[in-house]
């Protein structure tokens, strides 16, 4: 990025957030997460500027939690600080319903919106209006060390069960050699441990709420989920797992300390990247485990670009969203960084591409995404949509609170029963307050 200090200094003082932009030169402000794919996008800004003269781009890159808090505050108060926001499949339906996002149905024919994977597109559409364009999509799957699996004398099936995962974790663990059979998320947060645990609970036949919005943490299915999770982590997990999120586990896996890791499919490109990963050539992939109940423990998420309603730079913002989520962008990344680093999980055409099919995790990623069903996520019927979340505004708060309890259970501060009881009380309290439970 070049330093354009003089212009910036002047601009900052005078036009501020009011958005006084001249006709020739529009500057759009984009809020995004500091994930690898987004940082790559930031690095490719020049291509966008070359194709769209007269539009300048300002990046606000923040850590996920900070970002979420900032953009939500801004969009809800109509603060107008950003023209493009990076949001997920949780926010889009809620915000779309509130009319906080600009509809993207009018993107040009050449954008080929029909090419977007149906599962992903469905999660970003409210009443027929596409409210955000997916930048990358992900499900979750098992990533495992082929060498350790072989050493343990086991073979990973394409679609393992939880029982097999446990068996393999036990066989792979070598605590003296700092090899931990399984790494899972333990850090509290609705997008951290609760994303994993909610998806896992789906495969155990559990659900967050019954049809009357009564919380279900007192069910046997949740008890089985949490007990098995704690059992796996306490016996075969790394130390300090109650503060491990996606990034911490990624580091562990890349440095060869995990036998298996069940997490976002997007991690596949990081763990197979030889410059960052010491185990790049020894990684295998499998679908997320199940318990034979018809649902697998995998989630569905898409980091997407949305445009807040009321921005005065809607045209320029749309141009940017179109550029960043287009087929051409995928080709551009492939050209610069190789096919393995292309933002995955958004377009069918990518998976039809013969070059991309050579990428080792392509097939498993697509299968994982396709096997997730946000509109029908659980074994028993539920009144909500969303696989690893419940698409209601109250969910963030409740799930973060519940996540704290489960994280405390993992840290050994309370038993699984106590954690579930506390979760049940908390969820009931909040749902009553919000008026779901009459």
């Amino acid at each position: 990025m070049t330093i354009r200090l003089s212009t910036l200094l002047g601009a900052t003082a005078l036009c501020a957030a009011a958005g006084i932009a001249s006709a020739q030169d529009t500057t759009i402000t984009i809020a995004t997460v500091n994930n690898g794919d987004m940082i790559r996008m930031q690095g490719l800004t020049d291509d966008f500027k070359a194709k769209n003269p007269g539009i300048d781009v300002e990046w606000v890159t923040l850590e996920e939690n900070v970002l979420r808090q900032r953009v939500t505050t801004d969009v809800a108060t109509k603060g107008g600080q950003y023209d493009v926001m990076t949001i997920g499949t949780y926010e889009v339906p809620i915000w779309g319903k509130q009319g906080w996002l600009v509809s993207l149905n009018d993107l040009p024919e050449s954008y080929d919106a029909d090419d977007i994977l149906p599962a992903i597109r469905g999660g970003l559409t409210v009443d027929g209006e596409l409210y955000a364009a997916p930048f990358y999509g992900e499900s979750s799957m098992v990533m495992y060390r082929t060498d350790l699996m072989e050493k343990a004398g086991l073979e990973m099936p394409d679609a393992p069960t939880w029982a097999f995962i446990k068996e393999a974790a036990a066989a792979m663990t070598d605590k003296d050699g700092e090899i931990y059979g399984i790494c899972l998320r333990g850090k509290a947060g609705w997008g951290e441990n609760m994303a994993f645990l909610t998806a896992m609970s789906n495969s155990y036949g559990a659900r967050w709420f019954d049809e009357n919005w009564q919380p279900q943490f007192d069910s046997d299915a949740w008890k089985a989920t949490l007990t098995d999770y704690l059992d796996l982590m306490n016996n075969y997990g790394p130390p300090g797992s109650s503060s491990n999120g996606f990034n911490e586990n990624l580091s562990l896996f890349q440095t060869g300390k995990c036998g298996m890791w069940i997490d976002a499919t997007v991690a596949a490109s990081f763990v197979t990247n030889p410059t960052d990963s010491s185990v790049a050539d020894k990684v295998g992939f499998a679908l997320a485990p199940d318990n034979g109940l018809g649902k697998r423990g995998n989630w569905l998420w898409a980091w997407s670009l949305g445009i807040p309603a009321g921005t005065q730079k809607e045209e320029a913002a749309k141009k940017f969203v179109e550029w960043a989520t287009s087929k051409e962008y995928l080709a551009l990344v492939a050209e610069n960084e190789g096919w393995a680093n292309v933002p995955p999980g958004t377009r069918q055409s990518l998976y039809d591409n013969a070059e991309y099919q050579k990428v080792p995790f392509a097939k498993m990623t697509l299968e994982s995404i396709n096997s997730a069903d946000p509109t029908n996520p659980t074994v028993d019927p539920v009144p909500y949509t969303g696989v690893q979340f419940v698409a209601i505004p109250e969910f963030q708060g409740i799930a973060t609170g519940v996540g704290q309890q489960f994280s405390a259970a993992l840290a050994g501060q309370m038993s699984a029963e106590d954690a579930l009881a506390a979760a049940q009380t908390m969820a009931t309290r909040e749902m009553t307050r919000a008026g779901y439970i009459k």
Partner: protein, 276 residues
């Protein structure tokens, strides 16, 4: 000291003091060292202190990704600006409280300090809405206003305690000589007050530089200072210790260096009237 100190004792004290000083400083030193390592070396076991391949690669990556200079300038403008404005407002107030104390002076002072105890999160949404309506979101002006207000009590308190130490006799003498109020301030008080003002200024620049709640929540692209810069390096994907260390070093180095160079002045004013 009047009594000769034995050399042995001096050696012991030196060793102990240096070790403790080193221990306290170590986290910062370690951060700086790590910033010159490669990501793999940053988490290597056993860790190496000096004997690794020194690289400035991390700084390159950080510079390329973020417009460091703009964050830096924003930090400078915001912290210096809010401190200067704060001083302009606070000096007269502290002066009058120190030299013309009334019955309520002490209570006013205590009340001012107590406003500092308001938890900022409790009032974020109101402030955000007000800022939005007057167009101050993501402006340096807005941040200067907020930081001036939150540090004003500390500035007044520091100046007050410092002014209190200026002997009143001198003022009386000046008054006897017929000095007007204005001359009294300009010729008698100012020279004596300058060191106190300087140290107040330094302390407040540090406090404003490190303030991370308002600066993060009221800015986006234009006015974001180094606290926001750090927020984009705090937990990215993959190995990040070395890059985090580089970004951290860049965020704290300016204020650390300023602090070291001015530590004599800073220390003098840091006493808050604690020393009589």
């Amino acid at each position: 000291m009047a009594r000769a100190v034995t050399t042995n004792r001096k050696i012991t004290m030196t060793v102990i003091a240096w070790s403790i000083g080193f221990l306290i400083f170590f986290p910062i030193l370690w951060t700086v060292l790590t910033s010159f390592k490669s990501e793999a070396e940053a988490i290597a076991s056993p860790p190496s202190f000096v004997f690794f391949d020194w690289t400035i690669e991390n700084y390159g990556i950080v510079m390329e990704r973020s417009n460091y200079f703009r964050f830096f300038m924003n930090s400078v403008v915001i912290s210096v600006g809010s401190t200067l404005i704060g001083l302009i407002i606070a000096v007269p107030a502290a002066w009058s409280m120190a030299f013309v104390p009334g019955k309520g002076t002490k209570n006013i002072l205590m009340w001012m300090l107590s406003t500092k105890m308001l938890p900022p999160v409790g009032v974020l949404i109101p402030i955000y809405l007000i800022f939005k309506n007057v167009g101050l979101l993501d402006t340096r002006t807005g941040l200067v206003i907020v930081l001036t207000l939150i540090n004003l009590p500390i500035i007044i308190w520091m100046l007050y305690t410092y002014f209190k130490e200026i002997p009143v006799d001198i003022l009386e003498a000046a008054r006897m000589d017929g000095a007007s109020l204005r001359n009294e301030i300009i010729y008698v008080l100012t020279p004596m007050a300058v060191p106190g003002i300087a140290s107040t200024m330094l302390l407040n620049i540090i406090l404003a530089w490190n303030e991370a709640f308002w600066t993060l929540n009221l800015t986006a692209a234009n006015a974001a200072p180094l606290t926001a810069f750090i927020a984009s390096y705090s937990s990215p994907e993959g190995l990040f210790y070395a890059k985090l260390s580089a970004a951290s070093t860049m965020a704290i180095a300016p204020i650390l260096i300023m602090g070291w160079f001015s530590q004599k002045q800073l220390v003098r004013g840091l006493t808050f009237g604690a020393v009589k």
